[in-house]
């Protein structure tokens, strides 16, 4: 009888004890998971944050690149405005098709840069006489200005100046050099 009692007692004590340990152990396990979960959450959050930062950085980089490209485009357009001359035939101020196409681009630039004013220079090759070429250069610049005004650019934004044969780009005395010198050139004031 006493043996059964001790066995029962032991069981009563041991099993709950076991259960206790188990549940305690479980509890411990539960606590670990939250931590891991926390860590996981933190990690996830950090990862998300990192991703967000990267995304922002990428956006910024893209934006910067866009700005750079925009600036480069603007610079290119401005350089083209300055460097692309229109050309004329001998003793003529008439605008040929190619010259008109270039002038259209210049008009576009002027429209996109509404605060800019420009000066149109008229030049000639060195055949013919200095005085006549001063007058011819004047009519070449005037011809370009009229064309731009017809495209809607305000006349007040454009001034003209003739240099006749006084400022050639090519000092040669051959058809190639002469063709390069018979030009209208733009500068931004």
């Amino acid at each position: 009888m006493r043996k059964k009692l001790w066995i029962n007692l032991a069981l009563v004590l041991v099993i709950p004890g076991l259960l206790f340990t188990v549940s305690c152990a479980k509890k411990t396990v539960k606590a670990d998971t939250t931590l891991t979960q926390q860590a996981e959450d933190d990690a996830a959050a950090a990862a998300a944050e990192k991703a967000k930062q990267e995304e922002l950085a990428r956006q910024r980089a893209l934006e910067e690149q866009r700005i750079e490209e925009e600036a480069a485009r603007k610079l290119a357009a401005r350089n083209m405005f300055l460097n692309e001359d229109i050309y004329f035939e001998f003793d003529s101020a008439a605008l040929l098709a190619e010259a008109q196409a270039i002038l259209k681009k210049k008009a576009e630039w002027l429209q996109n840069n509404s605060n800019a004013t420009a000066t149109i220079e008229g030049h000639c090759d060195d055949r013919g006489t200095n005085e006549y070429n001063l007058a011819l250069g004047d009519t070449r610049a005037a011809s370009a200005k009229t064309f731009l005004m017809d495209l809607g650019i305000a006349g007040a934004r454009l001034s003209c100046i003739s240099y006749g044969e006084e400022r050639p780009v090519d000092p040669g005395h051959n058809e190639e050099a002469w063709a390069k010198n018979r030009r209208g050139h733009f500068i931004i004031d």
Partner: protein, 440 residues
């Protein structure tokens, strides 16, 4: 009877010959006005006689006689005989005015100039005589006193006397030539004496400056300059610091003073198109002289100021036109060539010199006011542009690239004796001969 008849016939023949030779011996015309350069007059100019002793006198005698020879040679009327051929040397004559005409006619000299030079401190006394050796006649003699440094002036004065006796005109020795040169690195205006001596810089704009024009009293110079960044027209008094600027929008170029008036014509494009306007010497617009669309420029006045020649593109290519100022009528002058510019009206009134371009090359042409001609004066030698007449209409200055860089040349009105006037650093262009200057 026969004896009598023979006597009468002889008498009549003798009478005929005497009268005949009288008729044939016409007045000796020294210089044929219709073509003065056809035959150059042989003239002898021996070294002047030293009237004082010393090296300075000797050197001046040589220098002055050489200068006189050069100055006369410049006109194109004379053939200066080589001193090596002379039979007499005035240094050995007791009095330099005592000449033996045969010494000179025998070597072919038709004219003879003798002179004497006397120096005292810094002053010099020069005496000159011009002889017609065939007629054995003294034509003119003069004595001058002045400072040694004025020797060129003195020699020029006597040359004017010589030319006056021979042609009735005082000649060009009192004139100067304005021109454009790049000596300083930029195109600036320079002035030299008629024979190219003493070039001096007149503008200092440090920018492009060109197209000089003299007023008819020789006191004012008009020109175009980019001094303020664009082609403006400047009117400048040559001795006093005063003047005016015409700085209208566009080009302000090709000034040409109205003879004997303080007014000038110039090309202005402020209306949108290059046209010729008449302006006061102070730069105020009086009225507009050309009224057609298309380039009108380069006015040149007739000596009486009643007509104006100019260049116009109104018929499609640059050609010369003449406008009658009073009636306003305009007529075309040139019909040959596709590019005729830079008219210069002869002071004699009957002809206009201009630059005509063919196949990219410019040459000087002369056309009569009535359209007669044109005659081409330069051929196949570079670019020849910017003709400008001497004030007596006997010579033409122009620019030429025949030897490479552009230089100022001079030739007679008939295109003979083409020679370089001067050569300074850089390139020279756009010569403009002054009127006769008083008090030079």
């Amino acid at each position: 009877m026969t004896g009598c008849r023979i006597k009468i016939i002889c008498l009549i023949s003798i009478a005929f010959f005497l009268i005949g030779s009288g008729l044939c011996r016409a007045e000796y015309d020294y210089i044929d006005i219709t073509n003065p350069f056809l035959r150059k007059i042989p003239i002898a100019i021996p070294i002047f006689k030293n009237m004082s002793s010393g090296v300075t006198t000797e050197q001046l005698s040589i220098k002055a006689s050489d200068l006189l020879a050069e100055t006369l040679a410049f006109t194109g009327y004379f053939k200066i005989l080589d001193r090596g051929a002379f039979l007499a040397d005035p240094q050995t004559d007791a009095v330099f005015s005592d000449i033996n005409p045969q010494n000179w006619t025998s070597i072919g000299a038709e004219l003879l100039v003798t002179g004497g030079v006397l120096i005292q401190d810094d002053r010099v006394e020069m005496e000159f005589r011009l002889y017609d050796t065939f007629k054995e006649k003294l034509l003119v003699g003069k004595r001058y006193k002045g400072l040694i440094k004025d020797q060129r002036k003195i020699v020029r004065r006597f040359c004017s006397e010589i030319i006056f006796i021979l042609t009735g005109d005082k000649g060009i020795f009192n004139s100067e030539i304005a021109f454009v040169s790049t000596s300083s690195g930029n195109k600036e205006i320079y002035i030299c004496e008629f024979d190219g001596y003493n070039p001096r810089q007149v503008t200092h704009t440090r920018n492009i400056t060109l197209s000089p024009a003299w007023s008819s009293d020789g006191k004012w110079l008009a020109y175009t300059s980019y001094a303020k960044g664009k082609p403006d027209l400047y009117i400048k008094h040559l001795r006093e610091k005063r003047g005016a600027v015409i700085a209208k929008k566009g080009i302000n170029i090709t000034p040409a003073w109205v003879p004997n008036k303080f007014a000038l014509a110039a090309t202005l494009s402020f209306s949108g198109d290059p046209e010729i306007y008449l302006l006061t010497g102070t730069g105020k617009v009086i009225n507009r002289l050309t009224k057609r669309r298309g380039i009108d420029l380069s006015p040149s006045w007739s000596p009486d100021g009643k007509h104006m020649a100019f260049v116009s593109k109104r018929s499609g290519t640059p050609q010369l036109y003449i406008k009658n100022i009073a009636s306003g009528q305009v007529r075309r002058l040139t019909f040959q060539g596709r590019y005729n510019t830079q008219p210069s009206w002869s002071p004699k009134g009957d002809r206009i010199a201009y630059a005509g371009m063919e196949s990219g090359r410019n040459n000087i042409f002369v056309i009569g006011i009535d359209g007669q001609g044109p005659v081409q004066l330069t051929h196949d030698e570079g670019d020849n542009e910017s003709p400008s007449w001497s004030p007596d209409g006997s010579l033409i200055a122009f620019s030429s690239t025949r030897l490479g860089p552009s230089r100022i040349y001079v030739m007679t009105a008939y295109g003979t004796d083409q020679r370089r006037l001067l050569a300074i650093k850089g390139e020279q262009t756009e010569p403009e001969w002054s009127p006769r200057m008083v008090n030079k």
